[in-house]
Amino acid sequence: MSPPTAVELRNLRFRYPDGAEALRGISFSVSEGECVALIGPNGAGKSTLLMHLNGILPDRLPAVPAVTVFGRPVTEDNLAAVRRDVGLLFQDADDQLFCPTVYEDVAFGPQQFGDDASVPGRVAEALGKVGLSGFEQRAPHHLSGGEKRRVCLAGVLACTPRVLVLDEPTSDLDPRGKRELKELLRNIPTTKIIATHDLELVVELCTRAILIDGGSVVADGPPRTLLGDEVLMLAHGLERPHILQHHHPH
């Protein structure tokens, strides 16, 4: 028996208010336990797509939505439940860390979901998972880039989502920050959908890659097959990552 479906997209379309068509009919489904990479050039529609997964976009949710999360269509009525199930990590850490202290930021999600008694425990556990126990009283603007990203992740994990959605999780991190974050993600068994330009991460972490360009799905398959196809990669503003390069005798 195949694992249950976590996220399903059926012909997802989106047009920005200025008329630009960002998504032109995207369909795919993600099973529980998968780690799916969304790859594609800048402006392909990856971030826009991610924001549909928990109903941040569109501004007015349609009566028959194109996105279904664990069997629930993303409608106004289901919004709270969907946002609980889907943990979204934003691209810019400063957008996500809006509280005066690390503790309050990580506690923000659990507090919204209204189980106050469990909040301190959830915060401690989430900070422990990202290796930042003891940072509770620090102010976000005094943290390094890597630390900020990990606090953001803790804020998402504290909500115990059933699917993690990450937008460029390793962008502007130094190599050590990238390595640490990859290790962290590897050890989180939750279903993951990761939009990224970090193709090494895709090969190392993901079980499947979906290539998006111009608002449509171009290819969908195992990372090594997709990313190893140099012609396909170059045609869509990407490249074959170094770990998949053949060794040439010199």
Binding site: I56, L88, P100
Partner: protein
């Protein structure tokens, strides 16, 4: 570069160790006393000097902060000079304003802002106001850094041009900063919604 409004708020001293609510209440009492009574400024001044001594905050830092904020009060005080017997009123306004500013500077530099917010929340200050204050405190730094980055980027490409051009480019930086802040505000709102904010 890290901007900070309250660089000394987390050092250790007898004043820093006092509970936040006590400091907030004391500061309020001092402010009210200074503003409403004609001669309270002498005892208030004595109390504040004692707090400065106990707090271990460098005096030079306090003077710099005062100097930074004083023009705002002086602007109002200058108007007093225009009336009869204005010099006395002017002096009084300056002394009172200085004491009030010193009180607030001391409060913010002996108490972490997050603790102050917690007290405000506990005494039932409207949640919307507390949230607004918290967000303001958080993003002031981000905004200042963004402005500084844009100013530097500008400076790198505007050498040897006249002053009027510099003003014009400053205007466009301010405009861009406003647009960027609006966009950021939208993204922050989205991030809050993503974690269950309604």
């Amino acid at each position: 570069m890290i901007f900070s409004l309250d660089p000394h708020s987390r050092i250790d001293s007898p004043v820093h160790r006092l509970p936040a609510w006590a400091k907030l209440a004391a500061a309020l009492a001092l402010l009210v006393a200074t503003v409403t009574t004609p001669r309270a400024f002498i005892p208030v001044g004595v109390v504040l000097i004692a707090v400065v001594a106990l707090s271990r905050i460098p005096v030079l830092f306090l003077l710099k902060r005062l100097l930074l904020l004083e023009p705002l009060a002086l602007g109002v005080a200058l108007l007093a000079l225009l009336q009869e017997g204005g010099v006395r009123i002017f002096a009084l306004i300056v002394v009172k304003a200085t004491l009030c500013l010193l009180t607030v500077i001391l409060l913010s530099n002996t108490t972490p802002f997050a603790d102050l917010l917690r007290v405000l929340r506990r005494v039932r200050v409207p949640a919307l106001l507390v949230t607004t204050l918290a967000l303001m405190y958080r993003y002031l730094f981000v905004l200042a850094e963004e402005g500084e980055r844009m100013r530097r980027a500008r400076a790198c490409r505007t050498y040897g041009v006249g002053r009027s051009h510099a003003w014009k480019s400053l205007a466009s930086v301010v405009g861009r900063l406003f647009v960027r802040s609006t966009e950021r505000a939208e993204r922050i709102h989205a991030a809050m919604c993503a974690r269950g904010w309604r």
